[in-house]
Symmetry: C2
Subunit: 412 residues, 2 copies
C-alpha cells in the first residue's frame, strides 16, 4: 500500500462497528498506508469534506483497545443513499474529486445493505470512468440480514445482550405475582428479519425456561391466535414472557404497531418508523384476559451495549476490517468481505470476498424451517447457528466503576 486509505461507517450503530474500524486502521498502517482518513458521518459527511486523520485519534495501542470496546459509530454514521449514476453524475464527480485530492487508493465502507449499495455504485462509477480507486465493503449490522455472509459483525453482541436481558426479565417477571397473572411483552429490533428476536431463545437453559413464545416478522402475526395461546399459558402459570419483533405484521401486511395509530412515518430510505408493538400487544392482552400486562422495549440499548459484548463478535469485526484492507490492497474492488462458517462445533469461521452486486439491497431472513410449525418459537437449528456467535467476553476497561471508551471525534 503506497497511498492513502479512507474509511467510513454507515447505517445503525452497533457494539462491534468500531472494532472493524480498529481492524481497518491497524491493517492499513501495517501495510504501509501513509494516511488513514476517516470520513465523518459516512459519504454524506465526505461530500461536505468532513474527514479526520485517524492517527490524531488512535495514538497508542491502548487507544486501539479502547476503540474496540467503544460502542456506536466512532466516526458517525449516515443514512444517505447515493442517486443512480445516470440520474446525477455530479455527486459522483464531487466524491471522486475529494478522493483524488486526498490521494485515496482504497475506500472502505463499514455498514449494512444500504452501505453496500454505496460500495456497488462507487465501484461501478470507478469502472465506468477508469478510476483506479478500490471500493470494498465491510459487513456490519445487528440485524444480521446481509446476504452471502454467514452472519454479520454486530449481530453476536446484540444477540448476547438480548439473551442476557431477556433472561433477567424472565427472572424479574416470576418474582412478581398478580391474581390474574402477568404477561410481559419484550420488543426487539429487526424490521423484516427475526435474527435478533430469535436470540431471545438464548436465555433458555438448565436454569431458565426461556420465553414462552417468540414471534418473528417472517410470518404473519395472528392476533387472536396469540390471545388464545396466552390464555392457555396463564392457566398453567402466573408469568408469561413473550418476545416479539418490532416488525411483526398481521395477515394483509399491516404492522401490529400501526393497529393503534393513525399516521404512518417513513425514514429517508422509505422504511416505516416502528415503535409501540409491545405496548399495543400489552394493552390488547390486558383487555382480553384481565391480567397485568407490561411492555419492555430493549430499544437502542441492544445495539450499543458494548459492556456485554461477545468476544467472538468483537474479534470477527476486527478481522473483517483487516480483511477489507487486504482485499483492496490486493486489487479487489466492488467486493464485500464475508464470513464463511467452516464448522459449528468446534466453531470455525474464515473470511472471503464476494461481489457486492450479489449482496446489496437483498435482505436475508430467517429460513422457514428454523421457525417451528406453529410460528411461535425458533428451532434448535436456529440456536445452534447463533450460539457460537455469543461466546466469550471482552472485559470492559473499568475506570471508577464505569466502562472506559475512546472519546469520539463526533462528540468534540
Amino acid at each position: 500500500m503506497k497511498g492513502n486509505i479512507i474509511v467510513g461507517q454507515s447505517g445503525g450503530p452497533t457494539a462491534a462497528i468500531n472494532s472493524s474500524l480498529a481492524g481497518v486502521f491497524r491493517t492499513a498502517k501495517d501495510r504501509g498506508a501513509k494516511k488513514v482518513y476517516g470520513m465523518m458521518h459516512g459519504v454524506q459527511g465526505l461530500l461536505q469534506e468532513r474527514y479526520i486523520d485517524l492517527s490524531d485519534h488512535i495514538k497508542t495501542e491502548l487507544d486501539a483497545e479502547l476503540l474496540k470496546r467503544t460502542p456506536a459509530a466512532f466516526l458517525g454514521t449516515c443514512r444517505y443513499k447515493l442517486p443512480e449514476i445516470h440520474e446525477d453524475r455530479d455527486v459522483y464527480e464531487k466524491i471522486f474529486g475529494i478522493l483524488e485530492k486526498l490521494e485515496i487508493e482504497s475506500f472502505i465502507y463499514i455498514g449494512g445493505n444500504d452501505s453496500m449499495d454505496t460500495i456497488k455504485k462507487l465501484s461501478d462509477y470507478a469502472i465506468i470512468t477508469g478510476h483506479p480507486c478500490r471500493f470494498v465493503g465491510c459487513p456490519k449490522t445487528i440485524d444480521n440480514d446481509l446476504a452471502l455472509t454467514d452472519h454479520t459483525p454486530g449481530y453476536g453482541s446484540a444477540a448476547k445482550y438480548i439473551g442476557t436481558s431477556v433472561k433477567e426479565i424472565i427472572r424479574d417477571s416470576f418474582s412478581l405475582e398478580y391474581d390474574r397473572g402477568l404477561v410481559t411483552i419484550v420488543e426487539i429490533m429487526g424490521r423484516n428479519a427475526g435474527w435478533l428476536t430469535g436470540a431471545a431463545a438464548l436465555s433458555k437453559g438448565e436454569d431458565c425456561a426461556g420465553p414462552d413464545m417468540i414471534f418473528l416478522p417472517e410470518l404473519p402475526f395472528d392476533l387472536q391466535g396469540f390471545s388464545d395461546r396466552v390464555k392457555k399459558l396463564l392457566k398453567k402459570r402466573k408469568s408469561v414472557v413473550v418476545a416479539v419483533s418490532e416488525g411483526i405484521k398481521i395477515e394483509g401486511g399491516k404492522y401490529v404497531c400501526e393497529l393503534g395509530q393513525s399516521s404512518d412515518f417513513v425514514d429517508a430510505f422509505g422504511h416505516k418508523q416502528l415503535s409501540g408493538t409491545a405496548a399495543y400487544l400489552a394493552n390488547f392482552i390486558a383487555g382480553e384476559t384481565g391480567c397485568k400486562a407490561r411492555a419492555i422495549e430493549l430499544s437502542t440499548l441492544q445495539r450499543s451495549a458494548s459492556h456485554a459484548a461477545s468476544r467472538v463478535d468483537i474479534l470477527e469485526a476486527y478481522q473483517v476490517g483487516g480483511a477489507a484492507v487486504k482485499a483492496a490492497d490486493e486489487g479487489d474492488s466492488g467486493k464485500m468481505v464475508v464470513l464463511t462458517r467452516i464448522s459449528d462445533d468446534p466453531y470455525q469461521c474464515g473470511t472471503e470476498v464476494k461481489d457486492v452486486h450479489k449482496i446489496a439491497n437483498d435482505e436475508k431472513v430467517v429460513p422457514r424451517d428454523w421457525i417451528n410449525k406453529e410460528g411461535t418459537y425458533v428451532t434448535d437449528e436456529f440456536i445452534s447457528y447463533v450460539r457460537p456467535l455469543i461466546q466469550g467476553d471482552v472485559s470492559p476497561v473499568m475506570v471508577d466503576g464505569i466502562p472506559r471508551h475512546l472519546y469520539a471525534p463526533t462528540e468534540l
Copy 2:
C-alpha cells in the same frame, strides 16, 4: 440460634436482593439454625402457608455463589400491606399461628419502605401479645429512598447500570446526525426520589461529557424552561441527551406523564402507575423544535441487570443479610439493619441496627443542595456520594455465552 428462621422478600426486585438472601441463609446456618424457611411471595404467600426449606434449593457453596448473581427475588415478592393491628387482628393471629407451627424464632424481611412497615407491625404485635419471635428488616430498594441508612443495597448496582447504559446511549446519539439535531430523553425509575436518575451523571468522565441535563422528581419540572434550554443546546451541538425521572411533575403537582393521558391508574399501595414521561417529552420537544426526538425507557432492566452488578453493592447486600440474622439472634426486634458510611475515600462502611419505627413510610429524597441552582443537574457532592457504591464487578458465571443463575422456586 436454637430454633428456626424464616426469611421473605418484598417490593420491587433488584440485582442484589438475592445476595442478601444468601447472607441470611449462610449466617443462619453458621449460627446453628435448624431450618431456614423462605416464604414464597412474602407475607402474602406466608398467609397462604406457601414456604420452602431453603436447604432444598441452596445445596452447595456454588449454589450460594450463583444466588448472589441471580437477579430479581428468588423467593418472589409481594406488594401486600398489613392492616393496622386494631383493624384486623385475625391476619396477625394467622401469621403468628404459622410461625409457631414452624417453630420460628427469627423473622427476616428484605425490602423497602412498605416492607419495613410490615416489620414494624409484626414486632409491635409480638410486644402486645408477649410473643418471643424477633422481627428484623433488611434494607433493599433500587430507589435508595429509605431513611436512616446511608444507602440501600440494590441501589449501587442499578446506579452502575444506569451510568453505563446512559454512556452507551450518549455514544449512540452522537453517531447519528439529523439536520435539526437529535434529542434523546432517557426515562429512569424513581417515583419521588431522584437517586437513580442522578446516577446518569456517572457517565460523565474524561471520555464522555455525560448527559446535558438531569431532572429529578424533587423539584417541579418547568416544561417551557426545558424547551428553552434544549433549543439553546441545539444551537451548539447536534445531539442532546437528557435524563428524566419517571416521576417528574409540573408546578401544581401533575405528573408529566399524565399530560398526554386521560385516566389515572394506582397500584395496591395507592401509588400512581407511571410510564411515558420520556415519550411525552420527546413528542413535545419534537413539536417545539422540529428536531428528531426519541424516548428510551430503561424499564425493569435497570433493576434486574445482575450481569453488570456492582461488587460493593453485592457484598454489602450479603453483609446486611448476615447482620440481620445476627441482630435477631442477639435479641433485637423491630429493627432494621442500616449501612453507616465511615468515609468516602477510602470508602468504608459498616452496619448498625436502628428502630424500624423511625424508618417505615419515610421517604429519603435527594437533598436540595445536591441539585444545582437551576435544577438541571446533580452536584459533585451527589457524585462523590454514589461513586463508591458502583465500584468493582461481580464476574457472572458464564455458561455457553449467557450468565448462569440459580433456578428460582417461583419458576418451578
